[in-house]
């Protein structure tokens, strides 16, 4: 199974980028008053990318024997993922006022970047560690 590690990792990274980019694009267009971000094809595309992302993530966990709770950085990353999903939902659908949607969208993007930093550094502090904070 480990033979597939490089390709699974690439699929994971590619789907992370695709998922984040799609969210950024749809969120920005939604804030600009466009309706197409909630169109069915885009929603289904988003679901598909996230399904691939989830599958690749679970495969990597099993291949590398890296698990939440046992590894702090992954625990933090998953907690942030839950926050990201809630914020994304508020930004795209559930928040009623533009201001609420804008704040949710902006914070979601920050959370997304934090997750990327944690994943890159394999450390709960993420980018902060790279910049010499720990």
């Amino acid at each position: 199974m480990i033979e597939y590690y490089p390709i699974v990792k690439q699929v994971h990274i590619a789907s992370v980028i695709a998922s984040g980019a799609l969210f950024a694009m749809r969120g920005a267009a939604g804030l600009a008053g466009q309706h197409w971000p909630m169109s069915a094809p885009l929603r289904y595309l988003s679901y598909s990318i996230d399904s691939v992302l989830l599958t690749a993530a679970l495969m990597l966990m099993t291949m590398l024997h890296v698990y939440p709770i046992a590894h702090d950085w992954l625990t933090v990353k998953l907690a942030l993922l839950v926050l990201y999903i809630v914020l994304g939902s508020l930004a795209m659908k559930r928040a009623r006022e533009w201001r609420q949607r804008f704040v949710s969208y902006s914070v979601a993007l920050v959370v997304y970047l934090l997750m990327a930093g944690i994943a890159r550094a394999h450390h709960p502090l993420g980018w902060l560690r790279w910049w010499g904070w720990a």
């Binding site: 033979e3 989830l54 599958t55 679970l58 495969m59 099993t62």
Partner: protein, 753 residues
Amino acid sequence: MRTTQRLWWGLGLLLVCSFGVLLFMGTEIHRLAPPMPERVVTESGEVVYTRADIEQGRVVWQSIGGHQLGSIWGHGALVAPDWSADWLHRELIAWLDLRAMAVHGKAYADLSVGDRAKLEAELRPLVRANTFANGEIVISAQRAQAIASVAAHIDSLFGTGLDTARLRESYAMKDATVDTPEHRRQLAAFFFWTSWAASTARPDSLASYTNNWPYEPLAGNEPTTSEFMWTVFSVLFMIAGIGLLGWHYAVYHGKDRAPAPPATDPLLSLKITPSMAATQKYFWVVMALFLVQILLGATTAHYQVEGQELYGLKLAEVLPYSLTRSWHTQLAVLWIATAWLGTGLYIAPAISGYEPPLQRLGVNFLFLCLLIIVVGAFAGQWFAVMQKLGLAHNFWFGHQGWEYVDIGRFWQIFLFVGLMLWLVLMGRALWPALRQRDEMASIVGLLFLSTVAIGLFYGAGLMWGEHTHLSMVEYWRWWVVHLWVEGFFEVFAVAVMSFLFVKLGLVRARSATVAVLFATVVFLSGGVLGTFHHLYFTGTTTAVVALGASFSALEVVPLAFIGIEAYETYTHSQATPWMARYRWPIMFFIAVSFWNLVGAGLFGFLINTPLALYYMQGLNLTPLHGHTALFGVYGMLGIGLMLFCLRGLRPDAVWNGGLLKTSFWTLNIGLSLMALLTLLPIGLLQLSAALENGYWYARSAEFMGRPIIEVLVWMRVPGDTIFSIGAVALALFVAGLWLRRGEPQSLAITATS
């Protein structure tokens, strides 16, 4: 004689003849089953195994989950080997090694191709020779040595041997699967006997007791002539059946004009009686069991890649694979059955307009019994598989190991009593309607008869005892499983859906009665004797192969025309504006037709014929059929019926159409992805491996551990995730009916209803 009467007579005759043959063949299977020796001895008289060893070994095997961990004669779980095939191959290799050392002074694997072929040719008649006489199987000293080496492997594998630790993980077995060395020795005796029966020629026959199953070139186990012939004949029968039914449809179908639909929904005036209202908790439990079943299914699937862990959690120590699979398969039946029980109890008073005295108490009591059965039976299985129960009480309170009917005998009897109570409750509520001699009498009678059959035929699961011969256990087990899913469930499905459309005023009672009676005759023509297609390789004879192949091919015939039924169902949903209220129950009914064609028809027939099943039994192509047919047909039907009942139970609640839409599509897409991304491709790769190397190889750790297989197992994640979203959406919808209050919608026809 009227058409209805003719059909009733035809159905009666069909059932008498079919069950007559089924019972007669049962006596033949009993008479010609592989013999159980009193002793297995060497030529010098040394006792290798006794009958007590073999029988007790089977009890040990049952206590660890039986069919839920690996398989025997092809029946059981797809993870871990088929123990009969695995033992056979290991014994043959060990035997060849011994002979190679004796003749050539080196291991069998190191011999030249010619020397290997010579040894194999010499070995084959020795393996196939039937040396059973006077209650004893006599074997050579060399074979006894080979047996001892395989028994040592079994002892290590089912114990805590370090040399087999990797294999245990591949097979999703916990350490110390069997608790004591003596039990492991007895388990080996049982595996040996099943392997002996699979490779030993019947007296006066070239074929083994299992009709040469499994495919093992080293033992000369290859498809028999009759398996080839009846495969071809069965296809011809199927084509002829489709032709005949097509002619019948062309002549008789669609001649009756549909009635003008009522101006309003006739069921709006339905008065919910106390017992009908009491069924709501059945549907809550349906949702709870469904969600738990999915969770256990995901865990069971995950054990294919991490045999003892779940993402770092050492789950096998408390909940090993054989338990998660046991509960996963049991819950599939239980939640579907609960949905049907609830539906029956809901519609019976609705049909007759009569609420018998103390009916609500009966409904509540039955509910309590069902909860006790689920909790009690599952607890018993946990204690058994964890080897904490002991063998003395395993049969009654632990794990019987027979897939789909594996709860302890006490719980089986309790469940049977519960089903009888259900019949009593149904019967007394339906009694006024059954006594009427109007045009509805026949269809109500059929509906009731199908429920009676579902209840009574579970009784076949009580026909075996702790030490009944394996071939006879399989015979009776398939009475329950096959006659339920490919017989009476089909009849119930057709009858209940037709009945609902009659009550809605969309179909004339007479047309529905004739259609249901005819469908019942067609389904049961193939369905009853089609039972034998599960028994080709369970120690039966050529007659079983012939009957099973011929009649199970006929089971596919009505499914070829299922599109007509689906279209009619769709037409009913468009018949009048108020039918929009039933949009989602109808959509689930249409899904029933779709999966009946794909899951039962296509994927069922894929593994149906003797020759196909010879190579495919126990590979991933079996669960491909199992998942798409059991959930696709009966799960979807259970959900559709539940939604129909909820429409009446919660007429004033807001129906969240968005959640139902999500649920419907994600359940269907998820199931499709599960089938197409994982089960089908792995099954085809396994088939190729079996054809090229023998059946044992397709199930081996070596093959199943290949990276491509693991990747395909992982491909279940997208489908399973999407499927789970559908189940959660459905649960949220059901919960919302009680938690969300809004404007009464009973009369409203909205886009979301």
